[in-house]
């Protein structure tokens, strides 16, 4: 008997549908990858490795690198930018990146730097209000493998835009005319929507794309001096890469009924926010797991309005790629009051540890600990111990008596400052002065607490007439910050740069009357109150340029205030002994440091210091935060500071290290410090390294380095050609 036509058509249609079912390719599953010489994602791949197997550039020729091309971002916006943080992508001979005070998107010929297309989306006051401005860290690429190639990025005003990678035109079938308004669905308080124009939320990190899923985090303003604890609530979301439809939302502040809600005592979940996911999200496509690095809850240094451990603040959370449901989490800091945001992309590696193959996730941190977990179960690979930390006494504050500290691997930087061992000692006089200076701050003598009580040392109510603050190393800017680290998937070695000299004296004080509903904010009693802004605050391209003298930013200071004395330097030198910054390598197979070397030229002030004449001072490295790449043989990263050296004038070096020994094997001069993490790619058999530089007098520029081309063969009069 014949089947009815209708049902036969149905069967055919179903079969056709299945065959043509869209199957996105991005990175891992047969699409562009570092194996083919591309760099298709911010961290090279969705696993956060920053690894490329290219080896044309090597120890033998690194010093011969020349500038192949350069691209200034001055005109991508109404004025130049001076903090360019982007890492470009390269796919099939085209380079894509963001740049400028507009955060425009550009496509360049990857061989010559020639501009192919540019896209920009002006956002007016919404952009001017954005908490995270300038060019951000870049963008994301997706292809269906059959000609639908897309670029996706997040604007300063927090919109997700999808562009045709060939033309730069918005994709009309994505969101509304190519745009998804990411502020829609964002709330504060008890599910109250934020205002689309003025609501505080934005992003610097790039989307992470896995299969057909676009993963987007969230970021707010710097949290040291904020006007309310009832701020925008952070979140992470997944969107369909074709349509822009929301697939799932993960609330980083658990709502009633959700696991972790009870870590916000007195229902403080309802009146607190931040807790965003501002660093780079990574994902394991095979396991279908997404790794969210979660930041601090509202008010970086005072948590009296949010008693409790405050999950998932300063936690690593693994969620299901399809559903967004939490699979496991680990909180790195309970009841965060040190601004130790989870700042690095979680790095996914497969390593044999103690004879067993393990799937791990390794997290570099501001604390200079590498936290290593089984990325399937969340179990720490090596024990992480709840350890007593110094007590605090700020009125109304809630304290966690312990914090989790990894037993292995050993810290790869300085979690705290050992006093007196790690205090400046170029000369006995300087050392003595430093110890005198330290009497102005709170810390613990002896070994009651690790690192002289400077690790998880709670902020005090500092006073200009007494103790000025609690010594910490690297709250906002120590250890490894937003550039994160990288890893070699072939050897299981993680690499990270660390700032060892970010001396901080954390203090809170009542802010001026009416400024905030939080009783204590960053500040010192008796000193003028100061608003703390993020880099680039107010630099959006359309910020009006007013000519009249500006009104004071904060309420007028009462009479009798005095400046806080700065005791963190001795004769202009850091109170912290060198090294000031290092490149560390951690071998996960053994859970041990493989090498740790100073990174960056010794600063001018040390080399030229009149009191240090005649002393032989080993290379000190530099403070600051820079990202790196790992190749077949090298680890490559640039200096975060400018120095003037007699043999090469002023500038900053881009350095190559042997990835097994840490020996520096080459360096080339850049005109300004590295301000964005490098990347590498190969086109037509030639390898390039591109890095963003900017700072001081030097506006943002992407510089591409490559080896010199062999000279073209000379034609003779009897040329056969």
């Amino acid at each position: 008997m014949q089947r009815p036509i209708a049902s036969r058509m149905l069967v055919i249609a179903a079969l056709v549908g299945v065959t043509l079912m869209p199957n996105g390719i991005s990175g891992q599953s047969g699409g562009p990858s570092t194996k083919s010489g591309d760099w298709p994602a911010y961290t090279a791949d969705a696993r956060g490795t920053r690894y490329s197997p290219l080896e044309q550039i090597s120890a033998a020729n690194f010093n011969q690198l020349e500038v192949a091309w350069r691209f200034k971002t001055d005109n991508l916006g109404s004025r130049p930018e001076f903090k360019l943080e982007g890492t470009p992508l390269v796919v099939n001979g085209t380079l894509y990146t963001t740049g400028g005070t507009r955060r425009s998107v550009i496509a360049l010929d990857a061989k010559s730097g020639e501009l192919r297309w540019v896209h920009s989306y002006p956002e007016g006051t919404r952009g001017g209000n954005a908490p995270r401005q300038l060019s951000g860290r870049g963008l994301a690429y997706w292809t269906d493998g059959r000609g639908d190639d897309r670029i996706l990025y997040v604007t300063p005003g927090y919109r997700l835009i999808a562009l045709n990678a060939k033309s730069g035109q918005p994709i009309s079938t994505f969101g509304t005319k190519g745009i998804v308004d990411l502020k829609v669905g964002v709330v504060f308080g008890n599910e109250q929507p934020i205002d689309l124009e003025t609501g505080e939320i934005g992003l610097h990190s790039t989307p992470t794309i896995v299969r057909d899923v676009v993963l987007i985090g969230s970021s707010m303003k710097e949290g040291m001096t904020i006007t309310t604890h009832n701020n925008t609530k952070g979140l992470a979301r997944a969107f369909d890469v074709r349509t822009g439809k929301v697939l799932w939302t993960f609330n980083t502040i658990p709502r009633p009924g959700e696991v972790g809600n009870d870590t916000w005592l007195n229902n403080s979940w309802a009146v607190n926010g931040n807790t965003g996911v501002w660093s780079q999200i990574t994902a394991d496509e095979e396991l279908g797991l997404v790794y969210l690095p979660v930041e601090s809850p509202s008010s970086d240094y005072y948590g009296g309005k949010r008693p409790g451990n405050n999950l998932y603040g300063e936690s690593l959370v693994a969620v299901d790629l399809k559903t967004g449901k939490r699979k496991w989490h680990y909180q790195l800091v309970h009841h965060p009051i040190w601004d130790h945001d989870v700042s690095s992309a979680p790095i996914l590696l497969d390593v044999t540890i103690e004879g067993k193959p393990r799937k791990v996730v390794a997290l570099p941190s501001k604390q200079s600990f590498l936290y290593v977990f089984d990325r399937v179960t969340g179990e720490p690979i090596w024990p992480i111990k709840e350890t007593p930390v110094p007590p605090g006494d700020v009125p109304g504050e809630w304290y966690s008596p312990t914090q989790p500290i990894p037993s292995k691997p050993a810290a790869y930087g300085r979690p705290g400052l050992r006093i007196p061992e790690e205090v400046i000692d170029f000369t006995p006089e300087m050392h003595a002065q430093a110890l005198e200076n330290l009497e102005h701050y709170k810390w613990w003598k002896g070994d009651t607490f690790l690192y002289s009580g400077t690790l998880y040392n709670p902020p005090i109510v500092g006073n200009v007439k007494g103790l000025l603050g609690a010594v910490n190393l690297g709250n906002a800017s120590g250890g490894t910050n937003w550039p994160g680290g990288g890893a070699d998937p072939e050897t299981g070695i993680v690499y990270a740069q660390a700032n060892l000299s970010a001396f901080a004296a954390e203090s809170v004080a009542p802010p001026p009357q009416g400024f905030s509903d939080i009783p204590y904010q960053a500040g010192v009693v008796g000193a003028p109150f100061r608003l703390r802004e993020a880099a680039g605050a107010g630099t959006y391209a359309d910020v009006p340029r007013r000519r009249e003298a500006p009104a004071p930013r904060a309420p007028a200071a009462p009479q009798g205030e005095q400046q806080v004395q700065n005791y963190s330097t001795v004769e202009g030198l850091s109170i912290v002994k060198p090294p000031y910054g290092v490149l560390s390598a951690i071998d996960l197979k053994r859970g041990e440091l493989l090498f740790q070397v100073p990174h960056g030229d010794t600063p001018d002030v040390v080399r030229n210091h009149p009191k240090l004449k005649g002393l032989t001072i080993p290379k000190t490295g530099q403070g600051g935060s820079v990202g790196l790449i790992v190749t077949k043989t090298l680890v490559i990263l640039g200096d975060p500071q400018v120095t003037t050296m007699p043999e090469r004038g002023r500038g900053a070096m881009l350095r190559a290290y042997d990835k097994t020994t840490g020996k520096e094997v080459g360096a080339v001069l850049m005109p300004a410090p590295q301000s964005g993490s490098p990347m590498t790619y190969m086109v037509d058999g030639k390898q390039y390294i591109v890095v963003a530089v900017s700072g001081g007098n030097y506006s943002g520029e992407y510089i591409a380095f490559g080896l010199p081309d062999a000279p073209a063969p000379r034609r003779t009069s009897s040329s056969q050609q």
Binding site: T539, R547, A549
Partner: protein
Amino acid sequence: MRSAAVYALMIASTFAVVVRVIAAADVQEGQNVGGAGARAGTVWSGVFTSAQADRGGTVYAQSCANCHGAGLEGADMSPALSGAAFMASWNDLTLGDLFERIRISMPADRPGSLSRPQMADVIAYLLRANQFPAGATELPTDTPALRAMKFVVVKP
């Protein structure tokens, strides 16, 4: 009639003068040839006045201190404007470069809101804070003149 010896002497002394003139023209700022002449054109030669630096302090407190700190110590991502990092960042550049950076992009939330005299005054304030000497003349407000003033950290 002068003797050949006198002519020789005249030629020799003219030659010596010419050489010295050329040598003087070749002297770059910062070269250690001693004396006030060598410092001319650098931040060591008293390029601002104390009164100008005072005025600059008022502008600084209103427009700069919020990000760069009341004591120029910087904070988080806004760099310190006195001390080692600032000096290294601007060493071997000119005051014109510093002026242009401010003119184009500072204060970060209101670029273009300061007048030329205000910006010159702020630079005077920064120079004093970094312990460069005050002098009898104010910093000019035009960029080319400021470009003739080299910022060198090590005193020539």
